[in-house]
């Protein structure tokens, strides 16, 4: 038995996607059109798999995926997008999502991916390997080299400053600080302040 929540702001897509699973009685589908309601909803009733659209007006799918994983660490997230899916391969490497599906994908592809992920496997297109090649090539070419601003922010984090304190220290709004931190964490491929500091120390970045 697989439980799955589909999140998409377009009712037509939501309905169509749900219909794909109609004949599979072992997959139980719920739908949600408002991304901001999801967190509240899954607190009471968590799902095994989340199939999430990326481009949603109130909260984009990537943020939603992070928030879901924050409260339900065993959740599996599949992004379901009309965009070019290769752009989002890094998210798989960063373990932010378990899979990615194009909206043009066939019913068979979708069912296969969902079943595989429910079994703890990952199904990916072949060009994922190209992405990996590029990734390692680049990584080999240039190590992470932090610029002055990033070092400054990291130092402030290491000293245990709150976002607010950092905002005051840098003389910028708190919202901007949060954006900077997100960008820095994604660069370092970490999820938290502690991880960021540990990584920076380990790699002698400071």
């Amino acid at each position: 038995m697989i439980t799955m929540l589909i999140v998409d702001d377009h009712p037509i897509v939501l309905e169509g996607t749900k219909n794909l699973f109609q004949e599979n009685e072992d997959i139980i589908i719920d739908t949600e059109s408002d991304a901001t309601c999801v967190i509240q909803r899954i607190k009471n009733k968590p799902y095994d798999i989340y199939l999430i659209d990326i481009n949603m007006p109130l909260e984009n799918g990537i943020n939603l995926a992070r928030n879901i994983k924050a409260i339900q660490s065993n959740a599996s997230v599949i992004l379901y997008t009309g965009d070019d899916i290769t752009d989002y391969y890094p998210l798989i490497l960063e373990r932010k999502i378990e899979g990615i599906l194009a909206k043009t994908a066939s019913k068979e592809q979708i069912l296969r991916t969902v079943r595989a992920i429910a079994n703890g496997e990952i199904v990916l297109p072949k060009n994922f390997l190209d992405f990996l090649d590029d990734k390692f090539k680049l990584q080999g070419a240039k190590d992470i080299h932090l610029n002055e601003k990033e070092k400054k922010i990291l130092r402030l984090i290491a000293e245990g400053h709150t976002n607010k304190a950092i905002a005051i220290e840098l003389n910028i709004p708190q919202r901007t600080t949060e954006r900077y931190l997100t960008q820095l964490f994604s660069l370092l491929n970490v999820d938290s302040r502690t991880e960021a500091v540990n990584l920076a120390e380990r790699m002698n970045l400071l």
């Binding site: 990537i62 009309g82 070019d84 752009d87 610029n147 601003k149 901007t176």
Partner: protein, 762 residues
Amino acid sequence: MRSKLFWPAIILYLIIGFYLNYVNYSEPYIQIGVEEENDKWVISQLYYKDWAEGQNISVGDAILTVDHEPINELNQLRYKSKILSANEITILKPDGDLINIHIKHLDIPQQFIYVLIIPACYYLLTLFIAFYLHFKQRNTKLADLLILFMLTVSLAYVSSGVSGRMDTIGIIVNRSSMLLCLVILLHFLRNYYSFVKTNWVFTNNIKLFYILPFIAFVLGCMGTIYPASNDILSNVILAIFFILLVIILSILLISYFKYSSPQLKILLNSILIPFLPFLFLYALPKIFFHTYILSSEISSLFLLLIPFSFIFTQLAERLFDIEYHITRLRYYVIFSLIFTVWFTVGLYFIAGRYLTMTVMSGVSFFTFSSLVILFYVKEKVDYRKRKILFSTKGDYIHQLYTAVDKIGKTIKIDELLEKFAYEVSMHLELEDVFVLTYNYDKNEFIPIAGESITIDPDIMEDIRLGEIRKIDKVYIAFLHQDAHFKRALVLGHNNTIHLKDEELLWLELLLLYVNNFIENTKMVEELLEELKHMKQADDGQLPWLNKLLWLRFEEEKYQLAQELHDTNLQEQLHIAREVDVLVNAKNTTDIQEKLAKIHKQMVASLHELRTYCENLKPPLLDTLGLNAALEKLIRKVQERANFVLIYTIDRLYLEDERMNLMIYRLFQELLNNALKHSYAASVEIHLKEMNDGFEIIYKDDGVGCNVEDIIVAESMGIQGMQERVKAFNGQFTIDSNINEGMFIRIMVKEGSETLDYDAHSG
């Protein structure tokens, strides 16, 4: 207080005064000292010697009868061995002649003047002033006290002659009123101090002091019962009088040295100076040496000045007026005196031989008085012709200066007028000063809260610039006139205050300034109003800009619609038709294959649509950020490009998130230009982080172009880029020549006031 005390006091004054004057009138005051020798009363001392000589009276004569009665029965002799007053006396000369002398008032002019006429005049004058003050008064309590004070002083003075005759009632009245007048004065001063808001340095319990006159009254009665104690009692009263006087003087002195206000100075002078003769020439010698230098009649003449000097406290609240006149007089007198001395000395050296002392002093006096008059005349002439005035302390210029300074700091007319009225009211010490505005379109005054003075509109119409008129109860001074209103300053004088020339001149000048001020202030007000309007217009966006933007948006939408219509819509229509064919197909054998073909077409169409959307809204910018979006853009370009693309992209930390979109668009534009127009073999593009902004450097080795040409031609979107960069306060530099490639450098800095990163990073 006014109705309760005034009339009883006046009636009492009238009754006592009438009696006292009658006593003074009934018998001339002769004061002949007598001694009892062998059962005869022999003259030992003659007071009015001239008269006695004329009447053939001399020391040693015996007096037989006084007023047809034997001298032994004379009441007066019980107190002193003196015959004080009589209408007729019979004396026996040592040679046995019997002389009967009728005494008339005019026989002895000194006593006639000092004992009868002056007291009587003073009595009547006081009565008159009391009535005047009573009906003219402003401050009821103070005026009543002043009236009482003057009445008691008058009684004390009139009764002094009567008590001198050892008249019972005269003695009682004299002693009581002597003390009473000082106690009332004390009371008056206490109230006056609180009226002029000066601290009272003595006890507030004045009522207690009213016991003293009562004691004096009792002592006076005792004196008539026991004539022998008369001298002692008289001294007791004088001592109390002296103590009270010292108290009053010390109060005035202490408070004068403490607060030294002009009011106090005048009070002090007006009490101190008249009392000095009485104190030093009569009272003190009388107490310590039992004799006097000046008789009480003459020394008390000076005291008559006191009550009158107090009238100013009622008639003019502006004490400094008096001070002003005194200083001016002193100033003129000193000048005149010095010149007169100089002139007299000169005259003596030149013509001393021919002139007698009398002529010399006459000439001196004439010179002196002429000079003083000359000064006053000069002052008038100066004021009329040249607007120059004597000033006591240079106050006048200084006040004008500060007033102008204070008024000049306002920017609103109402505020200006208010301040002006306040300054005038402060400087001239007038209470009722306000600015009256007259609307001569409607012929009416604009009412002001709390002001009830009405002015004849004709006067308002008539008054001209720089004019100050005195009418009915107010001064009215022209202030300003514009298209609708005429403004005038109104100063209430209430018939009690007369503005001096100096003050009028001060006011006139100030009016002139204020007139100019109002003009200027109006200009400032208008300018401010205009600015406000401009600001408001600025707040709402510019209409032409809105229109332009709207047109641009509509144009853009139209283009989008057209493009979609030409491409995707046609494909979708085609697909729909194909599907429709399949739906209605009778032959279903190869339907699967045909559907697969249509699916393929649809996916292709979707990809086109997606590319189209990505052009409109850069992908990944919102989700994965600028760097990912740029990497993707570059990858796409690299797929299509015939040139080698070298690029570096710094990670930026920009405060303004919209900058990311601009950077993306700049990259897009630059790379599209490279793809379409450059024909380059290699292209470099760099995004560099800067202190508080970023820098984009683009370089190619392509065909290049003439910079002027492309900007004029509006091709390649160069101008669009330039405008966008400028809109973000950036710098755009382009350097290119035909066949020499192209170099573009864009620098944008975020506002240093919002992002001050470096200052903190140390």
